[in-house]
């Protein structure tokens, strides 16, 4: 088992209705110098979260005690830019287990699925409903049900289904990763490699 299993997550959410949140914002390059995967959550959204002297920026959402939870709700085109998996690590390490957006950048989505952070893509309308629900009540709970592929705003019952390919879904539910799968098919890979012209 490579990471924590994911089945049903019921939690409040942190809203970040900004579009094109790129991975340089999620974790700036100067914090990528570790050779181990730990502590990245401390620098999550570093330059949005802290002033240059290290004091917290009061108006940034993660510094507002009213908002908390294991779900991060972000604007359209979340996770664009650099392929750094550190972005997904930082979000996970901070304590989030699920990111909801109306659109994800490809590499970020793959990276998240590979470490057990669930990216849930919803319609722009549903995302807007989530933002409005949290605005009305920061304690609004959201349920992400992976087996049923359904996301629900608990207070209102509003819900939407989301897509995930069957293979990745099984992996997330069981906590398996691709490396486990690939190790089990090494004979096939070896045969294939034997025919390669490169």
């Amino acid at each position: 088992m490579a990471y924590d299993k994911f089945t049903v997550l019921k939690s409040t959410a942190v809203p970040m209705p900004i579009e094109n949140v790129d991975t340089d914002q999620i974790i700036p390059a100067r914090f990528l110098k570790a050779t181990e995967r730990k502590g990245f959550g401390d620098n999550l959204f570093r330059d949005w979260r802290y002033n240059s002297d290290g004091s917290p920026k009061k108006d940034f959402i993660l510094n507002n005690p009213v908002y908390s939870g294991k779900i991060l709700a972000g604007g359209k085109n979340f996770g664009s830019g650099s392929s750094r998996e550190h972005a997904a690590w930082a979000i996970y390490d901070y304590g989030f287990r699920c990111v909801v957006s109306s659109f994800f950048a490809d590499i970020f989505k793959n990276n998240s699925l590979n470490i057990g952070l669930l990216p849930v893509q919803v319609s722009a309308e549903f995302l807007d409903k989530i933002f409005k629900a949290i605005e009305a009540d920061p304690k609004t709970e959201i349920e992400v049900n992976l087996p049923q592929q359904k996301i629900t705003i608990i207070a209102t019952g509003e819900n939407e289904s989301f897509e995930i390919n069957g293979y990745k879904k099984e992996n997330m539910i069981n906590g398996y990763d691709d490396i486990d799968y690939l190790q089990a098919m090494k004979d096939d890979i070896q045969k294939f490699a034997g025919q390669s012209i490169y």
């Binding site: 209705p17 900004i18 579009e19 094109n20 790129d22 340089d24 914002q25 700036p28 390059a29 100067r30 990528l32 110098k33 570790a34 050779t35 181990e36 995967r37 330059d47 240059s52 604007g75 359209k76 085109n77 664009s80 830019g81 650099s82 392929s83 750094r84 998996e85 550190h86 997904a88 659109f103 994800f104 950048a105 490809d106 590499i107 793959n110 990276n111 590979n114 470490i115 722009a124 807007d128 390919n165 069957g166 293979y167 990745k168 990763d177 691709d178 490396i179 799968y181 690939l182 190790q183 098919m185 090494k186 096939d188 890979i189 294939f192 490699a193 390669s196 012209i197 490169y198």
Partner: protein
């Protein structure tokens, strides 16, 4: 059935198709660098796995390296630690390592092609999103995360859902002062920073057919900046001429055999794409960005657009606010504090030739700090051999040593907060070139024009006919 170039290469690398899941894709070439590989090697150790085909992985140090005094120990202990980890891991597993100081060291996406490691028809990955660069050779090349680096090391495969296909055709002839960088900045400005997410892009048409390999690399490099998984251009005589005789390109009979195969690598007439876009070369002028994603670009003579109503308005205003710009501002004449020429986008010999063509006979503007960083030692040597260094030095510029440098500012090459940089790199994100730094992306010609005038200047006014 007529088939696209992308399908030909992808399908020939599928080891297994998983129903309602990704394809298991065999990887021909894997590049690693010091920043995104150490955790992958730790993963191997934790699982007690070996590197399956060490001969297919190539290591270089680039992201973290200083661009002056490379012969001295690296000052930053964290950077030094990553460089050491790359060296030790490469040694332990028998991987080729061109570390700091090696004659072939340089930015991963510069050294792969210039040493013939990158070849048509290959699948190529690296833990870096600008791996799309290698698509210029008719390869399927894209960036991956560290978990995937571990997959490739341990099994030479990754698992990927097959992307959809997009073709972008640009026909006609580019105008004076319009470079490959302007072509791709123009395309991204039309499609937006997320306009090609989920797609693999083939670039086609006269503009790309007539482009040098360096130019094609610049274009494919920035495919990721519109969200594309990668970009690809059909290999042709330009590609084969570039590759022939390079260090690790096939030789003799192997070359003839490879060449015969490479010549089949093109999209058949009648093959279909999920989406097609067509642009006219004559509509493109020298470009510059004004915001905080690469889609926020415009022709250099234009004014910053006004915000569109809707959900993106707040993001747009936040972006202009960060830049210290206003709607309807003119770009020409804006003050410039820093100029950066280099990176995997524009750090090749052709880029320095272009830069020198404007600089020749002029002087560096006093208010501007200029960082000139070659993409590799081989590029550095070319700059010296061709007499370009003399031109640059006469004008008051200094050449630094190769690396990623101010493109992502992991080393000391950071633009100070609030300062404006005209940069030939690929990302104008907030803080990308240093906390608070304000980046305007542009071509080497626009960068040169800014370097000698100290303000945003139309390079066409400085080009000698």
């Amino acid at each position: 059935m007529p088939t696209t170039l992308f399908d030909k290469v992808w399908d020939s690398h599928v080891v297994r198709r998983i129903s309602s899941g990704p394809d298991v894709l065999f990887i021909d070439r894997h590049f690693i660098h010091e920043v995104t590989s150490p955790v992958a090697f730790l993963g191997l150790e934790n699982r007690k796995l070996q590197v399956m085909y060490p001969g297919k992985t190539f290591a270089t140090a680039d992201h973290n390296t200083p661009t002056i005094n490379q012969h001295l120990p690296v000052k930053d202990p964290l950077s030094a630690n990553q460089l050491k980890a790359l060296e030790m891991n490469s040694k332990k597993y028998g991987i080729s390592h061109w570390g700091l100081g090696h004659a072939r060291n340089g930015i991963v996406h510069v050294i792969g092609p210039e040493n013939g490691i990158t070849q048509p028809g290959m699948t190529i990955v690296c833990g870096d999103s600008h791996t799309s660069t290698h698509g210029a050779f008719g390869a399927i090349a894209f960036g991956i995360g560290t978990s995937e680096v571990e997959m490739v090391l341990s099994s030479q495969c990754i698992m990927q859902p097959k992307p959809k296909k997009m073709r972008i055709t640009v026909n006609g002839k580019l105008g004076k002062g319009v470079t490959p960088k302007d072509v791709i900045l123009y395309i991204i400005s039309k499609l937006t920073a997320a306009g090609a997410t989920g797609y693999f892009v083939e670039y086609a048409g006269e503009v790309f057919e007539n482009m040098s390999m360096e130019g094609r690399m610049t274009v494919c490099n920035m495919s990721i900046e519109m969200g594309a998984r990668g970009g690809i251009i059909a290999p042709d005589e330009t590609t084969f001429t570039y590759l022939k005789g390079r260090e690790l390109a096939p030789k003799g009979e192997a070359w003839d055999k490879a060449l015969a195969y490479w010549k089949t690598l093109k999209t058949d007439d009648g093959a279909t794409f999920d989406v097609e876009h067509n642009f006219k070369a004559s509509d493109i002028e020298p470009m510059i960005t004004y915001g905080t994603n690469p889609g926020m670009g415009l022709g250099i003579s234009q004014h910053i657009p006004t915000a569109e109503q809707g959900s993106g308005k707040a993001t747009y205003e936040k972006s202009l606010d960060y830049m210290g710009f206003h709607q309807e501002d003119e770009m020409l004449g804006k003050k410039v504090d820093y100029v950066f020429i280099g990176s995997c986008t524009n750090g090749r010999i052709e880029d320095f030739r272009a830069f020198a063509s404007i600089v020749k006979g002029r002087k560096k503007a006093d208010n501007v700090t200029v960082w000139m960083v070659p993409g590799s030692h081989i590029v550095e040597q070319q700059i010296k051999d061709e007499g370009i260094l003399d031109i640059l030095q006469e004008a008051g510029f200094e050449l630094r040593q190769p690396g990623c440098s101010a493109c992502l500012a992991m080393n000391d090459d950071k633009v100070p907060a609030g300062k404006y940089a005209v940069s030939t790199s690929n990302r104008n994100f907030e803080g990308r070139q240093g906390p608070g730094a304000r980046t305007m992306l542009a071509s080497p010609l626009v960068a040169a024009a800014a370097a000698v005038t100290g303000v945003v200047t139309d390079p066409r006014e400085l080009i000698k006919d």
